[in-house]
Each structure stands twice: as C-alpha cells, then as structure tokens.
Amino acid sequence: MTAAAIVRSRTFPLALGLGSLVVAILAVEALIRVGAINRFIVPLPSQIVMAFERVIVEEDIGERFRLTFFEAFTAGAMITVVGVSLGLLLFRVNILRQATETWVAALASAPTVLMYPLFLVIFGRSAWTIIMMGFVAGLPPVILKTIEGLAGTRRVFIDVGRSFKLTAPQLFVKILFPAALPTIFVGVRLGLIFTLINVVGVEFLINFGGLGQLINDLAERYDLPGTYAAICFVILVSVVFFVITEWIERWLRPVD
C-alpha cells in the first residue's frame, strides 16, 4: 500500500487516531502507577472506567439527563420560535433590519453567560434561570441565519409564486420558508449548541439541575474518578448531540 493510498483510506487514519488515544490513556495509567503522576490529582483511567457504572446507577444519571434535556429542549424550542419570528420580522421590515442586525451580531459575540447572577436574581435558583440563560445565548444565531436564509431565496422561486398569485402568507409558507429552511436550521443548530453549552455551564455554576450539577457535586465530594467519569459522560452527550444535529443539517441541505 503506497503512502498516498494510506492517506486516502478511511480506516487507517481512524485507527491511528483511536490507537493514539488508547496509547495515551495506557501511558497515563502507567505513569500514575509508577508514581510519576500524583494519583490524588489524576485518578487511574481504569478507576474512571469503573466509576462509570457507579455514577450511572448511584447518581441517578437518567433523571439528571432528563432534566438537562428538558432545560435544553425548552430553551431550544424558545430560540426556534422567537428567533425565527424575529428574523422574519427583520426580513420584512428592512429599516428595522438595517438598524438592528449589527446589534444582534454584537450580542452573538458578547459574553452573555456572565449575566447568570442577574438571572439568578430575576428568576431565582431554578430551572428557569438555566433555561433563560440558554435562550439568551442561543437566540442571536437563529435570528441572523433566518434573515440570511430568507434574503437568500432565489428570485425565480418568488417570481413563480407571484405568477400563481399567491398571497403574502402563502408565499411565505409555500416558497420563502421551505427555501430558507436549510439555512434556518444551520442557525437553529448553532443556537442549540450555544444553548446546551450554557445550560450545562450554568447548571455547574449555580449547582442546580442535571448533568452540570452532577460534576459539581462529585468534585465537592472529592470523588475524583466519579468527577472524571461525569465529565466524560457530558462530553459524550455533547458529541452525540453535535453529531445528530450535524446529520440533520446535512439531510436538509439542498442537493446542488
């Protein structure tokens, strides 16, 4: 097999990546066992693997996952409804769009998650603080991508609709929205990612809710293998969520 063929193959790079990960984990295990790494700071990887079962069974991870999912789903539904509506409003009222689009973009880059103490005062230490933080963080990309998607609808589609004498609501439902849907979903996906990051992050910071609180609880109990296992679990959930939304985005993308 030539070098070029190895690079082109799908399995070799995958095996190299996974193999390197396994070697790194084994190296850490060995270094801890010989005392080169303090086991009171970094637990043995084998202990972390063993801790998974304990964390899943004893810490009621199913209920915590359900709670985090509920918070992320509620915030996700809110960013979709409010974001698409606001995007549509800004698309229809051009002067409003010109006046506020840069503000929405600035809001997208602003560190809004730092407002969580403010939200704690307004909503109390409850799921609503977490949901609203997720909502604020995830809203700007949905608005921006909705405008982009609607503005990017091909002129010929709109002309076809007009030639059929469609009313404005019909034009939106039959032409504009379906044409803009792939771009809108890109915004919804970005918004959902920001929402999930903020939901788990705020759960951790205010020690309330599902998976984020679990990490905080385990860290405060100095349960090192449990903390690492919970972090791995949250990473796994994030990656699965990311992959699923990416798959849906690809499915919605029009064929060129």
């Binding site: 990546g17 730092l114 951790f204 990656v239």
Partner: protein, 264 residues
C-alpha cells in the same frame, strides 16, 4: 433657462437625520424609557430593576475606584496569559494538522467534536491541577481558546494557494522562511478570525472560573455584588464588561487587518 440644464446636486442628509440612525435612537430611547418606567412602577422589586440614574452613578463610582482597575488588571492578565498559552499551542496544533493530511484525518475530528463542549466543566479538574489561584483561571482561558484557534489555523493552512507554496519552494525557502513568508501571511485572515473567536471564549472561560472560585478579578467582583445584592453595581460591571469584551474583539479584528481584507 441656463438653470434648466445645470446638474442638480441634492445635499446628503446629515448623519443624525439618516432614517436608520433615527430608528436606532428611537429603539434605544424606548428601551431606556421602558426600563425607567418599570423601575419606578414598583411592579418588580426596585433593586432588581434599579433606576437608570442609579446604574449611571454606579458606573461613575466604578470608574473612579482604583481597586476596580486592579481587579480588571488581574482578569486581563489571566485572559492574556491564557490566550498566549492556548493560542500558541492552538496555532502549533493547527499548523501541524493543516500541513499533514494524515494527521488531520486522524486527530482533527477529536478537536472538531470537543470544540463545542462546555469547557467550564473542566474547572474542577483545573483546580486540582493548578490550584485555586490564578493558575486554574489561566488554564480555563487556555483550554477555551485552544480549539477555535487550532481549527481555524488548520483550515487556513489547507486553503493556502498551492501556487504560493510552489513559488516558495522554487526560491528554495527553508521551513522557517516558508512559515514566515508564505504560510503565516497567506493564512492571516482565518487565523485572526480564530484568535477573535478564541479571545471571546477565553474571556468567558476565565470570568466564569472567577465567578465560581476566586478572590480577585472582575468575575469575583460580579459574584460579590450578587452576594451583597448590590444590583446597580452588578449592572454597571456587566455593562462595562460587555463594552470591553466587544471592544477587545473589534480591536483584534482591526489589528489583524480584517476590515481591510473585507474591503478588497
């Protein structure tokens, strides 16, 4: 008659009379008036929505407190150090992944999928590794900015025009010259974009860590204002922080010449 053939020049309206500016002013005024009305109405607790004058007074007081600048300096130095460590390692990782297709296919998916995970969950681990002092905050900043910078650099490296690389080779440029004269100038735009993204998330990572466990820095001041229920001060700090964060982001873009690139 002579007037009829003369080209008529209409004077451009002054900037303040531009309809977009007027709409912006109207929106801001509406928000401020609504805020003040809610504050005075007593519908919500007065301290939750303090009056605009109370917030303005808190901003002035904050700006005239030398102690605030010390905390601001602490946060800025943590963010700066985190950005330097995470940015340089991200740049290095991006260059390696961008230059080698095999390594990119093997390891870049891990960066790609780890990038959008909430980094704050690593804070307990960072405390164990680097202690409760500034080290753990710097580490949070570094972890946060590593991913966007590495991914942007790798993408930028792959987008370099092959002709430029061949020109470099034809001049027999060594590896250092290739990096300094070809790769880095050619991938300036995506790299600066990555640094901008990295700066934003480094600020967030560092400040969130400060709000969780610290006795110094702006994050600590925000959570202290929350604990004391000093709402005008908390609003003042959030407003100043937002202005500084957005300003820093714009400054990085300007220094990196993003505006000139866009105008071309």
């Amino acid at each position: 008659m002579a007037e009829a053939g003369r080209l008529r020049l209409t004077a451009a309206p002054p900037a303040w009379a531009d309809p977009v500016t007027l709409v912006r002013v109207a929106i801001i005024m509406t928000i401020l008036l609504a805020w003040e009305a809610i504050s005075r109405s007593g519908l919500l607790y007065r301290d939750v929505v303090p009056s605009l004058t109370a917030i303005a007074a808190a901003i002035v007081k904050l700006a005239s407190t030398p102690d605030y600048y010390w905390h601001l300096w602490v946060t800025a130095s943590e963010v700066g150090t985190g950005l330097a460590i995470g940015g340089l390692s991200g740049l290095l990782a991006g260059l390696v992944l961008g230059a080698n297709r095999m390594l990119s296919k093997s390891f870049e998916p891990y960066l790609y999928y780890l990038g959008p995970t909430p980094k704050i969950i690593f804070f307990p681990v960072m405390i164990m590794w680097f202690g409760v002092g500034p080290g753990s905050k710097v580490a949070m900043g570094a972890i946060s900015c590593f991913f966007p910078i590495a991914l942007s650099t790798a993408a930028g490296m792959r987008q370099i025009d092959k002709v430029l690389i061949r020109v470099g080779h034809s001049f027999r440029a060594n590896a250092w010259q290739m990096a300094a004269k070809i790769y880095l100038p050619a991938m300036r735009h995506p790299t600066i974009n990555g640094v901008r993204l990295g700066l934003g998330v480094a600020i967030i990572g560092t400040l969130l860590a400060e709000t969780k466990l610290s006795n110094r820095g702006v994050g600590f001041l925000i959570i202290q204002a929350f604990s004391l229920f000093d709402m005008p001060r908390m609003y003042a700090m959030l407003i100043v922080l937002f202005v500084l964060a957005i300003g820093a982001n714009a400054l990085v873009g300007r220094l990196g010449g993003l505006s000139s690139i866009r105008q071309r």
